[in-house]
């Protein structure tokens, strides 16, 4: 059994420093295993948030050799042999050691209007949806809220626009609602204003760090940006909206008795 050295950030909001720990490593170990071993034997009070150790709960986010990653899904054998640096996410306020305060994300989430389904399709109060429509939002709904995308986003991290911009995670959340086959809410005005979608300049760093491989920029943010542009900045579209005939209420999605069609909203 060989050993490896870990440089782990120890400290709180008042300050701190990296401390080196050497521990034994075995086949298949992930960074979180090493942190646990250090915690159990050398630094009992090392603060580290974790829960499932299977890449599902999104709790153990950290920066490993400078890259935002889940500690539980980062195998030691994919890292260089030299010392491994583990530090907390930088975008969020530090609580202690590797633990940050991510509660801002839940506050920001409240800015996005909640799910508002169309009336049920069937007399028994149920809905009909095509799997093809469902597949599209399931990509967004598999987000585990690890907030690594928020951590890497330069608008939040370097420019500190937490008040003006909700960040990639919550744009994915908004996309999941906007493209939900049953949803009838209009979130475009708030995406433009309070969510600050215009701040994103499509550097795609968020997509690179997503442990669930969600194509955040291409599949969530860009389509939302396009909708916002169509709604607010397209002069021809603006003119059309002035002269187009009224189409009645928002319940445009009726299921034909012969079968299913993809919902127009989801197919944008």
């Amino acid at each position: 059994m060989s050993t490896a050295t870990f440089r782990i950030w120890r400290g709180d909001s008042a300050g701190g420093q990296f401390v080196d720990y050497t521990t034994k490593v075995a086949e298949g170990m992930v960074v979180l295993d090493a942190v646990h071993a250090i915690q159990a034997t050398q630094a009992n009070d090392l603060a580290c948030r974790w829960n499932c150790k299977a890449g599902r709960c999104g709790s153990c986010s950290a920066e490993i050799n400078g890259r935002p990653r889940l500690m539980c899904m980062t195998r030691l054998d994919e890292l260089p042999d030299e010392s491994i640096t583990v530090e907390p996410m930088k975008t969020f306020p530090l609580i202690r050691d590797l633990v940050t305060d991510v509660s801002w994300n839940y506050q920001a989430k409240k800015k996005i209007k909640k799910f508002k389904p169309r009336p049920p399709d069937a007399p028994d109060g149920t809905w009909r949806m095509a799997q093809a429509d469902v597949d599209r939002v399931q990509e967004f709904r598999k987000c585990i809220e690890c907030f690594l995308c928020q951590d890497v986003c330069h608008v939040l991290r370097d420019h500190n626009k937490l008040a003006e911009f909700v960040g990639p995670r919550l744009l994915v959340f908004a996309a999941a609602l906007e493209m939900h086959p049953l949803d009838t809410e209009d979130r475009l005005p708030e995406l433009k204003r309070s969510a600050g979608i215009g701040y994103c300049n499509i550097t795609k760093c968020c997509t690179k760090v997503c442990p669930e491989n969600i194509k955040i920029t291409d599949n969530a943010i860009i389509p939302l940006k396009e909708r916002v542009v169509d709604e607010f900045y397209d002069p021809l579209g603006w003119l059309w909206k002035l002269v187009r005939p009224k189409t009645g209420s928002g319940s445009e999605l009726k299921v034909p008795s012969s079968g299913l069609s993809q919902s127009p909203k989801a197919a944008v």
């Binding site: 009070d45 509660s103 939900h180 049953l182």
Partner: protein, 560 residues
């Protein structure tokens, strides 16, 4: 983590399904020591709870005609599990969170409760601390609902997450509530076993639901050679029929891989013991073989089991569309817990409610896959409603300052201890590891009287060590301190499991005794109840199972 789905007799895929079949399946799976009233309520109300989630925005997989799709699972007669690929639990968490943030609910994140406060017999609040700063907090409450989950961290190999530390069961026990069925611990047959760092992580039963088969090292499909009598009529006669079942053939019977979890776990143990196991001490779970049956098998597997594909690729360098997985049993769930009223979910302590895994009753001696998510939806709603009703009908209880001071003193004691005279100052982690090892070895899948008696002696020694555990540093987000406080809960529940397991002198469901390998009809007439006596000692009592009403008996008779 919850991957397979939520069981509800929606009858979207097979219209022969209804609450009566679900009820009978749940009772058969639990070997008839279930709380039959809870099993009835659960089967009747689960479909509405699933539809409610959809109305709140959950996006389940669909049938070709656009309704909620349902999949096969162990012990369920018809395809019954509403699901989202293999991440159904995450979908539920997200739906409830997204719905909840707009309900004006105040959430105290990362808080730990150290004791429940009482005013005479009833609950009057809860006392704990926030992990971030380590500051104590008092919650005055007319009613308290426990939803703290299970006890998996009492064992070395577990699929459970960090927070499954038995705190809910232990808080309730210490507040004077009764626990029930604590001997029934479920060992899920398929946990990862290699590499060592991932040991115990769940491999969903959905793999078998989609056609995955279990093989020993000789490539034999050993499950076909041990089908229990009471399931023979429902089990496939040959592999071909089993495959057809997984692909939705309504005339086919289920493959033996989808027998109940207790049985499959023991069959795997037997193969390993007989020297027919896989290189790392488990057996093989093969889904890749379906390429013989389906033209686009690899894509199909990635679509149906995305998390499993991802999990094995990333953690074990193994492509499940090409190679079999190595799996073995992992501690997954406790059927027992706080004894509650079937309708209201109130414990024997007035004002204290429990829902989900922390409560006992629904699952009897063995839980069917998919019944946990429906359990927590059905009884979570009931517990909430009846707790609200209780709160409306009662005045606030009196908060007793001495209870608070005592709890605060105990919680801080690990900081105040000085290292022993010989310079030894044991931290909490080693004690926890040793406890997990001991429970795994002595009160695990196969149990012996002698070993369990040994476990009780060991537990007494652990109590001693626990009382001396030293914690370093300060109170802010101190993982060592949190672990030290969890230890007491783990010890309490380990003792309850052990004492109940010694008391039940038969094998039933999750409780298997080598010295009493068969079911005993006389033992099946009781639940075992654990409570705290006035002198602080743990007492065991046998509680007769109430007579089932005629209409329910008839259902079970019909579905035999």
């Amino acid at each position: 983590m919850a991957e397979g789905g939520v069981a509800a007799a929606l009858a979207n895929v097979d219209d022969r399904d209804n609450w009566r079949v679900h009820f009978a399946d749940t009772m058969r799976g639990g070997q008839y020591v279930n709380d039959w009233r809870m099993a009835e309520l659960h089967a009747k109300e689960a479909p509405d709870r699933v539809r409610e989630l959809e109305a709140w925005g959950a996006v389940f997989d669909r049938t070709p005609d656009g309704r909620i799709l349902q999949r096969n699972f162990g012990g369920h007669r018809y395809p019954r599990l509403a699901h989202v690929g293999d991440r159904t639990g995450l979908e539920m968490i997200r739906t409830l969170q997204d719905h909840g943030i707009h309900q004006g609910i105040q959430v105290h994140m990362e808080h730990t409760i150290v004791t429940l406060l009482k005013d005479g017999e009833r609950v009057s609040g809860a006392f704990g601390y926030d992990r971030e700063r380590g500051r104590f907090k008092l919650f005055r409450a007319k009613a308290v609902v426990l939803a703290t989950g299970g006890i998996g961290r009492a064992y070395k190999i577990t699929s459970n997450s960090w927070e499954y530390t038995a705190d809910g069961q232990s808080l309730a026990y210490n507040a004077g509530a009764e626990l029930m069925d604590m001997e029934f611990v479920q060992f899920h047959p398929t946990g990862m076993i290699w590499p060592p760092s991932v040991m115990g992580i769940l491999v969903t039963e959905g793999v078998r639901g989609e056609g995955g088969i279990l093989l020993n090292k000789n490539g034999e499909r050993f499950m076909f050679s041990s089908i229990p009598e009471n399931y023979r009529a429902q089990t496939a006669d040959n592999p071909e029929e089993g495959w057809r079942y997984t692909q939705g053939d309504k005339n086919a019977k289920r493959p033996p891989e989808l027998l109940t979890r207790d049985h499959v776990s023991r069959c795997i143990m037997n193969e390993v013991k007989a020297g027919r196991g896989s290189p790392h001490g488990g057996v093989f779970l093969d889904i890749a073989w379906i390429k013989e049956k389906l033209p686009n098998a690899a894509e199909h597997i990635k679509k149906k089991l995305p998390s499993m594909y991802h999990q094995f690729m990333q953690l074990a360098n193994l492509d499940i569309t090409k190679e079999p997985m190595e799996v073995g049993p992992t501690t997954h769930y406790i059927m027992g817990g706080v004894r509650v009223n079937s309708e209201t979910q109130m414990a024997s302590v007035p004002g204290l409610f429990a829902a989900g895994e922390v409560a006992a009753g629904l699952h009897g001696s063995n839980r069917l896959g998919g019944n946990s998510l429906s359990d927590l939806l059905v009884f979570g709603k009931r517990a909430g409603e009846f707790a609200a009703k209780f709160a409306k009908e009662h005045n606030a209880g009196v908060i007793d300052q001495t209870q608070i001071e005592e709890a605060a003193g105990e919680a801080l004691a690990p900081f105040d201890r000085t290292p022993g005279a010989n310079g030894s100052s044991e931290g909490p982690y080693q004690v926890q590891y040793d406890l997990q090892e001991m429970m795994q070895n002595l009160v695990g899948i196969v149990r012996y009287q002698r070993e369990m008696e040994q476990a009780l002696k060991e537990l007494a020694k652990f109590q001693e060590r626990c009382r001396k555990v030293v914690v370093h540093g300060h109170r802010e987000y101190n993982s060592g301190w949190h672990t030290a406080l969890d230890l007491q809960h783990l010890l309490t529940v380990s003792e309850a499991i052990t004492r109940a397991a010694i008391e039940r002198k038969e094998s039933r469901g999750g409780h298997f005794r080598d010295d009493y390998p068969n079911k005993d009809a006389a033992e099946g007439k009781f639940n075992i109840v654990v409570h705290r006596a006035g002198d602080g000692s743990m007492q065991i009592r046998r509680e007769p199972i109430p007579e089932m009403p005629e209409y329910l008996k008839q259902i079970i008779e019909e579905m035999k």
